[in-house]
């Protein structure tokens, strides 16, 4: 009875098949020879059990084949590998290629949707797309214009289509979908267009919509139960969202859902985060703006929310909360916990009990973070769970038309969507980060449907008083809540990481390097410069007895906007031309997949035998 009627009424289709589809994808994921889901697994760990490539021999890997996608602009996400087939996607126009790995990579089929080009300019930050999903013999494509297409994985034939949003109102898509049970879970983009965020479930077999949960608005539209949906252990109460906005601003209030999703089959909950409230001018939206900037845990069957946690109430800096939720099982204070770890844009890493929504810790994962001093951890405090904002860096307190300077991190966050990896062996998180600060000046804007709704001017620059670069690749120890090591990078690290059982961690750089580092020490073991800057995610698979590592190149995205022209360093004063040379000095557009493996000589001794493989590893 607490559950809303309206949900139940919309449930459709057979639950029995659901379980099968779920089982199918789970078994595909469990086969380490494949890469069956963008996130590596439902836990978002991006960890592979493959260990033919090891810290000892990774120095010997070589590019073994490449593939041009035929599309320029930013390439995010990664290919999937299911059986002998690799599925490669592109940014708009969102082409999907099925490559036959057993037949020299020949193109088995290609699907190119027809989309209205008008969608291109309403995508806030380049026409990126984070990849297709697979389940139950189908490939799920979520186009830029928010049409969802189910393709037969073998033939590329269209099985069904569904329209999730309206691009003419600025509703677009950049994210992958997550198949769960008999559904696919779908988010939406457009926070810079005043889009009201939501998550929607479609039936995997039919494409029929089963439920939709808005991030803001009336309780029944958010699929919350005021008494049983909790926030830090307390019921959220009635009208929790509406009461936290002034007037109808929530209707154009953002809270979009374009990040990576996670699923815990035992708890039977899906996890994701909501984005920034619109507009970027906080003075135009008094209140906490719930439930923007929130980690959400929902039941995949009916969408009902179990718990929320709002990380950044009344955002003043564009710190979207959409980054991935990484699920792990680790000890906390001697007790085994089911954890959710989230490296937020706002520069704090949140560790929670993913079953109950209890906040266990919140720590800065870049020492430059200065907009808040801490997150209050005392449950007795009225400020429990809230960041303690530093007045100097509050764009709200400084007011409209005032340029607030020196805020760290910048709007792109200490980390954006580029996903981290986690190794159960080292129990370390490997996190690609931005090391960038900003000035932020909010001002009044008016809303027009389908037009940008921003309301702030920002300037970004490398974090002052640091190494001068704009990124770091760090290893974060979730047990001690400390950075174990940090590798400075000249540009933001905008590539998703991969950790493997071979004790190697891979990531890409904006200059175009694929890098391999030692999972324990961070020591650089290998690098290769691919044809374009990397904002894609590293993946791995096994084929023909060889472990392969693949990465999409193709500079663009947010990074391509801000960095293409280069930044200047505030510390170097004027005339520091070239101190932060433009990314365009290093790389140019181009979409290409590069696949690496060990040479035959290095693997002849048999996979899994890292000692043997190491024989020829002295890089010379």
């Amino acid at each position: 009875m607490k559950k809303l009627l309206l949900l139940t009424s919309s449930l459709v289709v057979g639950t029995s098949m659901a379980a099968q589809a779920n089982d199918d994808l789970m078994s595909q994921i469990d086969n380490a020879d494949q890469w069956a889901i963008q996130t590596g697994d439902y836990k978002n760990q991006r960890y592979s059990e493959l260990d033919q490539i090891t810290a000892e021999n990774v120095g010997d890997i070589q590019p073994v084949w490449t593939f041009s996608t035929g599309v320029l602009r930013g390439h995010e996400g990664s290919p999937l590998v299911i059986g002998d087939t690799m599925y490669v996607h592109t940014p708009f126009p969102n082409i999907v290629y099925a490559l036959d790995l057993a037949n020299d990579g020949v193109i088995k089929w290609k699907y190119e949707p027809r989309q209205n080009q008008e969608v291109i300019p309403v995508m806030c930050c380049d026409t990126v797309y984070r990849g297709v999903a697979y389940a139950d013999g189908k490939i799920f494509l979520h186009q830029a214009d928010t049409k969802i297409v189910a393709l037969d994985a073998e033939s590329g034939e269209v099985l069904w289509e569904a329209q999730n949003g309206d691009a003419s109102k600025g509703e677009t898509n950049t994210a992958t979908v997550m198949p769960v049970k008999d559904k696919i879970i779908v988010g939406i983009s457009g926070g810079e267009f005043g889009v009201r965020g939501h998550v929607t479930a479609y039936n995997m077999e039919t494409g029929e919509r089963e439920w939709r949960a808005y991030s803001t608005g009336p309780d029944e539209e958010m699929l919350v139960d005021p008494e049983n949906t909790t926030h830090l252990g307390e019921p959220i109460g009635e009208n929790s969202s509406i009461d936290s906005w002034e007037g109808d601003q929530w209707q154009i209030g953002g809270g979009t859902t374009w990040g990576w999703y996670a699923y815990d089959p035992e708890a039977d909950l899906i996890y994701y985060g909501t984005g920034n409230p619109s507009t970027w001018n906080p003075a135009q939206r008094p209140g906490d703006n719930k439930w923007s900037m929130t980690i959400m845990a929902r039941d995949p069957d009916d969408g009902m929310a179990k718990w929320f946690y709002q990380m950044t109430p009344h955002d003043e800096w564009d710190y979207d909360g959409v980054n991935e939720m990484i699920l792990t099982e680790q000890e906390v204070d001697g007790e085994e916990r089911q954890l959710l770890t989230h490296f937020d844009r706002n520069g704090f890493v949140y560790k929670m009990d993913r079953v109950t929504g209890e906040l266990l810790s919140a720590d800065k994962y870049d020492p430059a973070v200065n907009w808040a001093t801490e997150v209050v951890m005392d449950p007795e405090s009225e400020e429990y769970g809230r960041p303690q904002v530093v007045a100097e860096y509050s764009t709200e307190q400084n007011g409209e038309d005032t340029n607030t300077t020196g805020v760290c991190p910048a709007a792109l966050g200490t980390k954006d969507q580029q996903p981290a990896a986690y190794s159960p062996e080292t129990e370390l998180f490997y996190v690609p980060t931005n090391h960038v600060c900003m000035d932020y000046e909010p001002f009044r804007v008016s809303y027009t449907a389908g037009q940008p709704y921003v309301g702030a001017t920002l300037s970004m620059y490398p974090a002052p008083d640091s190494h001068g670069g704009m990124g770091n690749f760090i290893a974060w120890d979730g047990a001690t809540n400390e950075i174990k090591w940090s590798l400075p990078e000249q540009f933001s690290v905008w590539s998703g990481a991969l950790a493997t059982a071979g004790n190697v961690v891979f990531y890409g750089t904006l200059e175009g390097y694929l890098k391999a580092v030692d999972a324990e020490t961070g020591e650089e073991l290998y690098k290769f410069k691919t044809p374009s800057g990397i904002i894609g995610n590293v993946m791995t698979y096994m084929h023909d007895g060889k472990q392969h590592v693949a990465i999409l190149s193709g500079v663009g995205g947010w990074a391509g906007i801000g960095l293409a022209a280069g930044l200047t360093n505030p510390n170097e004063g004027l005339g520091a031309v070239g101190g932060y040379s433009a990314l365009s000095d290093y790389t140019a557009l181009g979409g290409q997949l590069t696949v690496f493996a060990l040479p035959d000589s290095a693997v002849s001794s048999g996979s899994g035998d890292s000692e043997g493989a190491a024989a020829s590893s002295d890089e010379g």
Partner: protein, 327 residues
């Protein structure tokens, strides 16, 4: 008279926007307070001080280097109209509206409705878009070559020194602002707005680096509405053109038309699509501001980042803004 404004610029595609990455320098502190008239460094110096009137000492004081690259020149004097350039306001600035200009003007074209009629009256509609005449070539760089030194426009701002190194933190594009900015030179000022001989909007940078209000406003609006595609400071992104170049390759009316109507340039090798902003008040009410800012970046020597000092916002500008935004 009625100038309908508009200037040209290029542009191609403005798009949405959000933040800008930029150089930071800020100036933060150095923004002129509202009461700039009282603050020497911030003097508004009303109408462009055409160099003939070398700006009284006060005004100069290049407030801490930050940007302004060359302190010298940047003002563009108008071609003929010389006279107009200015009733050099007495330092008190405030007065713009009164003191200044020919009061006739109806402020700016901006009409949210986007009706952009192109070419409206305006006499010189031909608007030669680019800086012909050797005036500081559009491209980048351009350090003053002799040619500009001889500014076609009569009094051309001679102060050629163009940017001295200090400022130009950008490296590439034209940080050098040679003297008279050719067709973009200020012919007259009106209530804090500056116009070329063709009656299209243009920018004004005082000898001390103080930019006119529209240029400053354009900096803000550009980085809210356009930056997400066109990159910080008008310098382009991995997929959208650098507008500081574009403004030099199209005239004001073309610029206006592209912003209002959008643009599509799709081929195998690119898909550049710019939306129509005709109904977007956040763009249309500030179209001249954005245009003028881009001109100042591309033609003038306004460096990257936030302009260090800005002229006061005149009542007329405020009124026009309120009317346009429906405030």
């Amino acid at each position: 008279m009625t100038r309908n404004s508009i200037t040209f610029l290029a542009a191609t595609a403005l798009t949405l926007g959000m933040a800008t990455f930029v150089s930071a320098q800020e100036s933060s502190g150095s923004d002129c307070p509202e009461d700039m008239n009282t603050e020497p460094g911030c003097q508004l110096e009303g109408a462009a001080e055409t160099e003939r009137q070398p700006v009284s000492g006060a005004a100069t004081a290049p407030v801490e280097a930050t940007d302004q690259s060359g302190e010298g020149s940047k003002t563009m004097t108008g071609a003929d109209t010389g006279g107009e350039g200015g009733p050099p306001e007495d330092g008190t600035g405030s007065g713009q509206e009164s003191g200044g200009a020919p009061a006739t003007a109806d402020p700016a074209p901006t009409d949210p409705a986007g009706t952009a009629t192109e070419q409206q009256g305006v006499e010189g509609a031909e608007t030669a878009p680019t800086p012909e005449g050797g005036e500081n070539g559009q491209g980048s760089v351009t350090i003053s070559d002799p040619e500009d030194a001889a500014p076609a426009e009569g009094d051309g701002a001679a102060s050629a020194e163009s940017s001295d190194g200090a400022g130009g933190s950008e490296g590439d594009q034209s940080s050098a602002a040679p003297a008279g900015h050719g067709d973009f030179a200020v012919a007259r000022e009106e209530n804090g707005r500056y116009y070329t001989a063709e009656d299209t909007p243009t920018f004004n940078i005082a000898a001390d680096g103080t930019v006119d209000w529209l240029t400053y406003s354009g900096f803000r609006r550009y980085h809210s509405e356009c930056h997400v595609c066109h990159g910080p400071d008008g310098m382009g992104s991995s997929y959208a053109p650098a507008l500081i170049e574009s403004v030099q390759n199209m005239d004001y009316y073309e610029f206006y038309g592209v912003v209002v109507n959008g643009k599509q340039d799709v081929s195998n090798s690119q898909n550049q699509v710019m939306p129509a902003f005709g109904t977007n008040q956040n763009v249309m009410c500030y179209l001249d501001d954005i245009y003028v800012y881009l001109l100042a970046r591309g033609v003038g020597d306004l460096p990257r980042g936030r302009p260090a000092q800005k002229a006061e916002k005149t009542d007329m500008i405020q009124e026009a803004e309120d009317a346009c935004m429906g405030a």
